[in-house]
């Protein structure tokens, strides 16, 4: 009979729970991590689901498939994805300039990037509204062209772009700064044009970081409330975001309705973030194989 302690545990399980490692402290750190995550993240989330379970399934379905809810979710997720995509492109350009070139007041520009992080979102919302309202500086210029920004979905998009930019910039910046210049020199010496070097050498190296920045900007935009409600106009079915609808339901004391919408947002966000995460992992393994 074998010593039970010596019995090998099934290989896949061991790989999962007990990575063979010379680093001690797996048990205690894992325990702390799980406790912490449980308290801070899972407990409030499970409360959300428990509260939602107070209503029947039919009621739940009726709430989440009502035109107003569906439209709010569509606005929230659609515009968040669009804003994250815009930030991906322009954030990448900002990073490129910040990392690769020296120019006067570079430090000031660098500090400006972080302002959307720190500014109270309501302040941002009011400032953007003042600018884009038909009598604001920018709004007054756009109004003769028939373009309305404030109090429309376009205004929401601008607010979401504003708050998401630093996420892309700050995630990609260190990766691009670490990227060896010799790689581009090697590409050039092998006859690659500048666009070819960027497309075939630089971009694949920063793809994972770009995707992470995209995911963070998207997640932030989905949850954004303060800046959006000032510029959105909040017309149900036109420019009403899901977080606002939740608040409206809460003010009407329809708690289960609010949590039902929140549940849908939560699950949808989780699925989207999971997909982005897989994409990023894929880009990473394809990119580094490290």
């Amino acid at each position: 009979m074998q010593d039970p302690l010596m019995t090998p545990i099934a290989a896949p399980r061991r790989r999962f729970l007990r990575p063979q490692s010379v680093l001690p402290g797996f048990g205690i750190t894992m325990g702390l991590t799980l406790t912490w995550l449980g308290l801070i993240v899972l407990l409030p989330l499970s409360a959300l689901f428990i509260k939602t379970s107070e209503i029947s399934l039919e009621r739940f379905i009726a709430i989440v498939t009502s035109t107003r809810t569906l439209h709010a979710l569509q606005i929230s997720f659609g515009l968040s994805l669009a804003a994250a995509a815009v930030n991906l492109v322009f954030g990448a350009i900002v990073v490129w300039v910040l990392v690769r070139y020296d120019f006067p007041f570079k430090k000031v520009v660098d500090a400006l990037i972080d302002i959307p992080f720190a500014l109270p979102t309501a302040v941002a919302g009011i400032a953007l509204t003042a600018l884009y309202a038909p009598n604001g500086w920018i709004g007054a210029l756009l109004a003769p062209l028939g373009i309305e920004v404030a109090f429309t979905p376009a205004g929401i998009l601008i607010a979401l772009i504003f708050i998401g930019l630093p996420f892309v910039v700050r995630t990609v910046e260190p990766v691009l700064a670490d990227l060896d210049r010799e790689l581009e020199e090697a590409a050039a010496s092998l006859g690659a044009s500048r666009p070819q070097a960027l497309w075939r050498v630089v971009l694949p190296s920063v793809w994972p970081a770009l995707l992470t920045g995209f995911a963070l900007a998207f997640a932030r935009a989905v949850g954004e409330y303060g800046s959006v409600i000032f510029i959105a106009g909040n017309l149900p079915g036109v420019s009403e975001i899901a977080p606002l609808l939740i608040v409206i339901r809460l003010e009407e004391f329809r708690y289960a309705d609010a949590t039902a919408i929140a549940c849908v947002m939560l699950v949808a966000s989780f699925v989207l973030l999971f997909v982005i995460n897989r994409l990023q992992r894929w880009a990473e393994t394809r990119g580094a194989k490290a």
Partner: protein, 349 residues
Amino acid sequence: MTIEVAGVTKRFKKFTALDNVSLNIRSGELVALLGPSGSGKTTLLRIIAGLEWPDAGEVRFDGEDALARSVRERNVGFVFQHYALFRHMNVFENVAFGLRVRKGADRLPEAAIREKVNTLLSLVQIDWLAERYPSQLSGGQRQRVALARALAISPRVLLLDEPFGALDAKVRKELRRWLRHLHEELPVTSVLVTHDQEEALELADRVVVMGHGKIEQVGSPAEVYDAPATAFVHDFIGETVALPGEVRAGVLFHDGKPLGLDAAGVPDGPARILARPHHVDLAPPGEAPFSGRVLSLRTFGPTRRADVEIAAGSGKVVVEAAVPLDLALEAGAVVGLRPRAYKVFAANG
């Protein structure tokens, strides 16, 4: 392809990396640029490659102005010190890169690319690694990939920046011989940058010794070792015993006594008498030009070395002399030193 460098000067802010450097490299030669860090050797290589532009001077390939062409138009193979392999591509794609970025009529069909890459991978003896990624390779294997990648564009000039710097001693020696062999097989002019004199002397047809942004000497490995043109070259290449002295009207003095050594052509003033350790004989103290006290003795394998302290003007200098294994000598003894073959340079020259 011949490479002509004429009067090239390059400054980085206030630091002069290259100071009016001129050099002719013959077609098919393997030339080593040898020097300590900061001597400008890598800058010169990068200027030849087109990765850096000189502030003044000219670079010509086969008589044609190379500075008018960018790095991608010069068709030079450049091997970087840290290989600069593309991490997201496997070995095959790394080597194929230079062929895949070609456009229009220059673009080879896929089958031709595959064939050429496979031929190159066999040439550098890593065809079995084609599917691996750079992070899965050893240093020596990465070096071979970097070389194959540089050769893929059929360069007529191959430039190597410290190609063996990051490898351990044994692999380095093996790759060195292999590179020499490869150079002879290919119709290519090679320039190699190194700070390792052994590497330069063993590998190169000609060695260019550089120091402080200038070329100190150009010559065959034997020439720079046996007939160093300057004190810098003597110091830098091989081991050197430096003895102090002073030249007055063509005669060498030490501590006020004439030494009876030849100092032809050296201007008056303080001088350094440089010799290889095995060219300095031990002699009874009274009969030799120099004498000093033995501080310590070391034996390793067939060689034995003594640190000898010699009075020099106001202070003292310690030189390392070769001692025959069978000579009875102890620390504290006073010995004479007589350089058999030596060169005299002005002390500040």
